[in-house]
């Protein structure tokens, strides 16, 4: 009866807001690393944003990169320590606004790292400003009338940007239902398997709620992902073993 349910990698309670998707994603990543016996070999690269709260609570080696640059830092580690399991854990603002170039070029060089990108459609930590992934019409503190895509650009779909490039693995998951969380775990596992077998760049984007800055209850947030967010960001695997699987 004394079966341990919480992964050892989660060394402290997380510090995210109640209902935040980051907590679930942390747990899934921790389970995968432990099940794959990689906990002792893992090095994470994160920058700022809510992800950086993991530094004390998630017990892998970490490097805190400057805002946006986590992929470049991860590349520096992986190139000198290829035996390590090197991953980035970033928000959408971090990886797709300021860090778009670092994210894209890690993919273009097919670097053997795993990128975990949490798409909550907003800048969470700085208080809910517009992100590259914010949906048209979505209100944020810097798009108070709702995002106008004519003047601010279309939402960034990083998977569409990368799927034409030769990379190892690409998938988009979500944490809105238990079923999706189980699928997400498979995606993260495949991404890390891809890296550890030298299969090239792997990226898992994850749709995740930010009830605090969406100013919604958790229930309404999950509903919003199901009904609205998935339309713009369809779920599934896009590239596997270096081959397109979505077509």
């Amino acid at each position: 009866m004394s079966e341990k349910l919480i992964p050892n990698l989660l060394v402290e309670d997380n510090k995210f807001c109640p209902g935040c998707g980051h907590g679930i994603i942390n747990r899934v990543v921790a389970e995968v690393l432990e099940e794959m016996d990689l906990a002792d070999k893992a090095v994470g690269s994160l920058a700022v944003g809510c992800a950086c709260l993991m530094m004390d609570t998630f017990g892998t080696d970490w490097i805190q990169a400057p805002h946006g640059r986590a992929a470049a830092v991860a590349v520096g580690v992986k190139r000198v320590r290829p035996e390590c399991c090197v991953f980035t854990y970033q928000g959408d603002g971090d990886s797709l606004a300021i860090g778009f170039s670092e994210t894209m070029y890690a993919a273009l060089r097919n670097e053997n790292i795993t990128a975990i990108i949490v798409n909550n459609g907003i800048f969470g930590m700085t208080g809910g400003q517009m992100a590259p992934t914010t949906l048209p019409g979505q209100r944020t503190t810097t798009s108070p009338q709702g995002r106008n895509a004519d003047t601010t650009g279309q939402p960034v779909n990083i998977i569409n940007q990368i799927k034409e490039v030769p990379v190892g693995y690409l998938a988009r998951g979500s944490v809105d239902t238990a079923k999706e969380i189980n699928k997400l775990k498979k995606y993260i596992r495949t991404a890390i398997e891809t890296q550890m077998s030298g299969g090239g760049y792997s990226l898992v984007e994850i749709l995740s709620p930010c009830p605090t800055n969406w100013k919604m209850t958790l229930e309404a947030s999950l509903d919003h992902i199901k009904t609205k967010v998935k339309e713009t960001y369809p779920l599934g695997e896009y590239v596997k073993n270096g081959e397109r699987v979505d077509a």
Partner: protein, 355 residues
């Protein structure tokens, strides 16, 4: 030891390899691109990694990652790229990691031009990036010194766990000179602090050390104070009896050396104080200067005075400080002598007035 004829940039690159550097991430810019070109061939020969980054921002952050993993790592750039490196350098300093950065200075602000210059002095010596930090900044005056200071920079970077900068310029970097190269050094990357995966309670965090050190303000001040006290390096030439002491580093100092020798033959008492570290500025060297020195003359390749303020502080404003500014043009030694003589005449004229 082996002796070779090498370009300054190549000498810097080979010295880095011999000092145990096994990772380079950087981006081309004149006049430092030979460093990339050289290392792209050389690092793989010794099992190291060369990566042409998509930008200086990525390059310095790759260095951050490799350094965090315990490896000796470096990048290099010039003016416009050096500006972009500042963000990453500040993070590396704040995480207290070793790394070596090279700035082969070029002329002007903005895009500027590719001529030799010494315009990045303030960005190099005041930290450059955001927040409270410094780098040990070494200013070689020859290809040989580039080699020697590169090796020293890697050792000091590890000793202090702090990024170190080689501040050079196009003329030293592009000139060919004979150099003695040191033996190849192998450095164990498995530092106790290096990230390489250890889960649970033993995990390591590479981030600003301020989060983990009690009374961080005192700690960090003591660290940089110790560097400022112990790491000053300079070369002095005839300063004990000089009427005018020239202060110059890098390429400018070589012309000044010739100026001192020629002036002395003519009975003009010039001296030279050459900072080898520009941070920390060698204030201790000024204690050996003739107490009756009439003036200091800084000589540098920039449009605006840069050394001026450090010299004024080092001599405690007891003597006038004048500037010879070459812009992008390396002066003739005779021009420096003439300027020194005019400075002397000016000082003597004003002291007559005071009498």
């Amino acid at each position: 030891m082996s002796r070779r004829l090498m370009k300054g940039n190549d000498a810097l690159a080979e010295a880095a390899v011999r000092a145990g550097c096994r990772f380079f991430g950087g981006y081309p810019i004149t006049p430092q691109s030979e460093i990339l070109e050289y290392l792209s061939a050389r690092l793989p020969e010794v099992g190291g990694t060369f990566l042409q980054a998509e930008s200086e921002l990525a390059g310095i952050n790759m260095v951050y990652g490799a350094a965090a993993a315990g490896f000796r790592a470096m990048t290099s750039s010039s003016g416009p790229g050096f500006s972009l490196l500042q963000e990453g350098i500040s993070y590396i300093a704040s995480a207290e990691l070793p790394a070596v950065i090279v700035d082969v200075q070029r002329y002007g602000s903005g895009l500027g031009d590719i001529f030799q210059a010494q315009s990045d002095y303030h960005m190099a010596t005041t930290g450059g990036g955001h927040g409270d930090y410094h780098m040990l900044v070494y200013a070689p005056a020859s290809a040989q010194e580039s080699v020697d200071l590169m090796c020293l920079a890697f050792n000091k970077a590890e000793e202090y766990r702090n990024p170190c900068l080689i501040l050079t310029d196009a003329s030293i970097a592009q000139m060919m000179e004979p150099v003695e190269l040191p033996e190849m050094k192998e450095v164990n990357p498995d530092k106790p602090w290096a990230v390489r995966g250890k889960s649970g309670q033993d995990f390591k965090k590479i981030t600003s050390t301020m989060y983990y050190i009690d009374d961080f303000d005192t700690y960090i001040k003591e660290k940089y104070d110790a560097m400022a006290e112990k790491e000053q390096r300079w070369e002095a030439l005839h300063i004990a009896d000089a009427d005018v002491v020239l202060v110059a580093y890098g390429i400018s100092s070589r012309i000044c050396k010739e100026a001192v020798a020629t002036a002395r033959e003519q009975g003009i008492r010039l001296g030279l104080l050459r900072p080898i570290t520009v941070w920390p500025f060698p204030v201790d060297g000024f204690k050996e200067v003739n107490p009756d020195v009439k003036a200091y003359l800084t000589v540098e390749l920039s449009s605006l005075p840069k050394l001026d303020i450090d010299v004024k502080l080092a001599c405690k404003m007891k003597s006038p400080v004048e500037n010879f500014l070459g812009g992008a043009v390396i002066p003739e030694s005779q021009q420096i002598i003439e300027k020194a003589v005019s400075v002397l005449e000016k000082v003597e004229a004003t002291s007559c007035l005071k009498n």
